[in-house]
């Protein structure tokens, strides 16, 4: 006995195939949207910009001989999702630019105007920024 219905059909049995294609096509289409929106909202792009600007402003706001500790856990988890584990933060001392890269696809750079020697290191989930006077190695 043949049923008229959602999948099991028809006198000729043709609509089963059409229905399946239709459902699969719709599922694929909307899954793509969901993945795109999720990736965009939790992606590296936003965090790279936010952290780069935060670090650059902290450097400019500080005096020499300052150590700053930033909670970097969110950036680390985003970087891990993107399989990036090294060089998350770079300070280009020649061009005076903070570069944050949490994916393999470039990063975000923000200039700072202070003429300090800046060193960064990641310790557990924190980013430590050491601000020293230029030309002073252990200040």
């Amino acid at each position: 006995m043949l049923k008229r219905g959602w999948l099991i059909y028809d006198k000729r049995g043709e609509d089963i195939f059409m229905n399946v294609i239709f459902i699969v096509a719709n599922l694929l289409f909307f899954s793509m949207f969901m993945i795109f929106v999720f990736k965009a909202s939790t992606g590296a792009m936003i965090y790279e910009q936010a952290y780069a600007k935060q670090i650059a402003m902290l450097i400019d706001y500080s005096e020499p001989k300052t150590d700053i500790k930033i909670d970097f856990s969110k950036a680390i988890s985003v970087a891990k999702e993107n399989e990036k584990i090294q060089n998350l933060v770079k300070v280009d001392e020649v061009n005076k630019e903070v570069i944050v890269s949490l994916s393999g696809q470039g990063g975000y750079g923000m200039k700072y105007f202070s003429d300090y020697k800046v060193e960064t290191e990641l310790v557990d989930n924190f980013l430590l920024i050491h601000i020293k006077e230029k030309g002073v190695e252990n200040g």
Binding site: N19, A56, P64, I99, G106, G107, M110, K111, F113
Partner: protein, 179 residues
């Protein structure tokens, strides 16, 4: 049209061209909205201009007095205040104008001007007019201007006028550049 798109009577079946058109329109709308929302810049230029202003004031004024040498021609603001010449003077992302006046409003020395001099006009344009209306554009620099009372020499009174501006927007760095 195949059986998937129309039936024998020409009526639309489940996968019509219109259905795909709707999906494409909705999809394009979602993609554009999400990209616009998440690619928006976090604008910190005004905060930066304030940081620069505070940095200069903290550097040239100590206990209400101008530091020694500020009124001399040899005074180097960039070196004294640990400001980077390359970023401010060459890359033109910032602007500084510092003027020191006596209590009658007469300049005690040549104004110190550093950075992108075009920002001075851009800052003036953005000042509110008599009706309190301001003019500006998205990519105009953000400015901080203030005048404070200071002492100099042996308890002489004066004023320190400082205008700072920033147009440091940051930049996206490509894969090859970051390699």
């Amino acid at each position: 049209m195949g059986k998937l798109f129309s039936d024998r009577k020409g009526g639309e079946k489940i996968m019509s061209v219109w259905w795909f058109a709707v999906l494409i329109v909705v999809g394009t709308g979602i993609v554009i909205s999400v990209l616009i929302f998440y690619s928006a810049d976090v604008d910190v230029r005004y905060t930066e201009s304030e940081i620069l202003y505070n940095k200069i004031v903290d550097c040239v004024v100590q206990d209400g007095f101008l530091i020694d040498g500020v009124l001399t021609k040899e005074f180097d603001l960039m070196k004294t205040c640990n400001l980077n010449t390359k970023v401010i003077n060459e890359e033109k992302l910032f602007y500084i104008k510092m003027n020191i006046l006596d209590e009658n409003g007469k300049s005690l020395r040549e104004p110190i001007i550093k950075g992108n001099v075009l920002f001075l006009e851009d800052c003036k344009i953005q000042e509110p007019d008599e009706n309190g209306k301001t003019t500006g554009a998205k990519y105009y620099p953000k400015c901080s201007e203030n005048t404070i009372n200071v002492n100099y020499g042996e308890d002489k009174k004066g004023k320190l006028e400082i205008l700072t501006a920033s147009n440091n927007l940051g930049r996206k760095i490509g894969v090859t550049e970051n390699a």
